[in-house]
Symmetry: C2
């Protein structure tokens, strides 16, 4: 399993991914799923991946080394994509290329071709954008109405984002909420686990402010988890007594 | 879809179920899924159901009208079950009886035989107990370590229970948390919807304190939902700034 989320607010973009992969409960490994493509003052692009690791790693390799654009014949790389939309098209093309190369063999082995990816970032001249790319290489984009996107084991961590994340949320709060969302997920699904990679890009900074790995002993993450649990208890205690009760 | 949960705390038992059933997004109905068997001063037993409605309704009918016990040849009804354990065995037997009667035909029609049920309550002479009965009629029981059980679309509403429900939680707080858990679920899955049935049984009361249907205009439910959202925002705002951020 995997859990990744991206939150795009007015002041910036937060991306987060766990690192656990598993082939059964008895075969657990740690693999980076948050991939960063950066050239300061020009671009910062992040890809978070979910699904079959052989597929997602191939996609990341293709967008790094280059994929041919059938319209122009040119080989395009993520580090050269002129816009974030072009970057999303390139990732989609890479997904389809992996399917072309490996799809039939995977099908024969009864391994479903499944992957979803979050692509977020900013290229000079454009605004920060956040996309979700599907297995067919098609994609959607986060908007002001729904400024966050999730992939993988998304249900446990959705309610907190749902209630608290808005386009006007600060980058600080977006990062805290992403971490709370990850913590809620890790508590309930052993397939999602530490360490957790986070990246933060402020709007128009064109350089990552945070590119950090949170591990099991990270004191801030422990504090956040404890404070959140205490606050939730205080929150429900402060809600008035249900009027349906008599005694 | 469906979402039901039961919370068993020291002072009592809370049971809750939504009422939405659907065969596709374009075929939505309201059916009661929280069934109550009560005789004041003697017993109060509740069954919350998830899964194929034709199966769950048949099970409820069997335990109401009686199922033969193959060991004794006697026909047993939920209203006569001497203990909650015997009640759980009876529900399990009813599930297997439905499978015996309808299972093959359902299989031919490629309809999977899937149902889970929560069975909670107290019978005079025993303590309040809470069980989850599976499709094979086997069952597990909630314990002090894990005093709540969920069925149906359970992931959205699990984190809040996970962080806040303990065996020592008050009945009032357990009811609030169940409602918050339901609200989180209804926000994210259109297959779970109003009205919501709730029942509350205090330990040793042997009579339901609450047997109530919450509808769309219930003022307390709206207040709870609003206060919870406000409290969550306050809670994450109060958490210190992540040290990973620079600016």
């Amino acid at each position: 399993m995997t859990y990744c989320c991206g939150i795009l607010v007015r002041d910036g973009l937060v991306m987060m991914a766990d690192t656990r992969t598993n082939a059964g409960l008895d075969n657990i490994s740690t693999f980076r799923k948050l991939h960063i493509f950066r050239k300061d003052a020009e671009r910062a692009i992040m890809i978070a991946t979910a699904g079959n690791l052989s597929i997602t790693q191939s996609v990341v390799n293709y967008v790094t080394e280059g994929v041919e654009n059938p319209d122009t014949g040119e080989v395009e790389r993520l580090m050269d994509a002129p816009t974030m939309f072009a970057a999303a098209e390139l990732v989609g093309r890479a997904v389809r290329k992996v399917r072309d190369v490996q799809g039939k063999a995977l099908e024969k082995a009864q391994i479903s071709f499944e992957t979803t990816m979050l692509l977020g970032g900013q290229v000079k001249g454009g605004r920060p954008r956040l996309f979700m790319v599907y297995s067919a290489g098609n994609f959607i984009e986060a908007t002001h109405d729904t400024p966050y996107l999730q992939i993988g084991e998304l249900k446990y961590g959705k309610p907190v984002l749902d209630r608290a994340v808005q386009y006007g949320t600060s980058v600080e709060d977006a990062l805290k909420l992403a971490l709370i969302s990850m913590d809620s997920t890790m508590r309930s699904n052993l397939g999602v686990g530490m360490p957790v990679d986070i990246a933060v890009l402020r709007t128009d900074a064109l350089a990552l402010e945070v590119d950090h790995r949170i591990d099991n002993v990270d004191p801030y993450f422990h504090e956040l988890r404890d404070r959140w649990s205490v606050a939730l208890r205080a929150a429900h205690t402060a809600i008035p007594r249900p009027p349906y009760l008599k005694s």
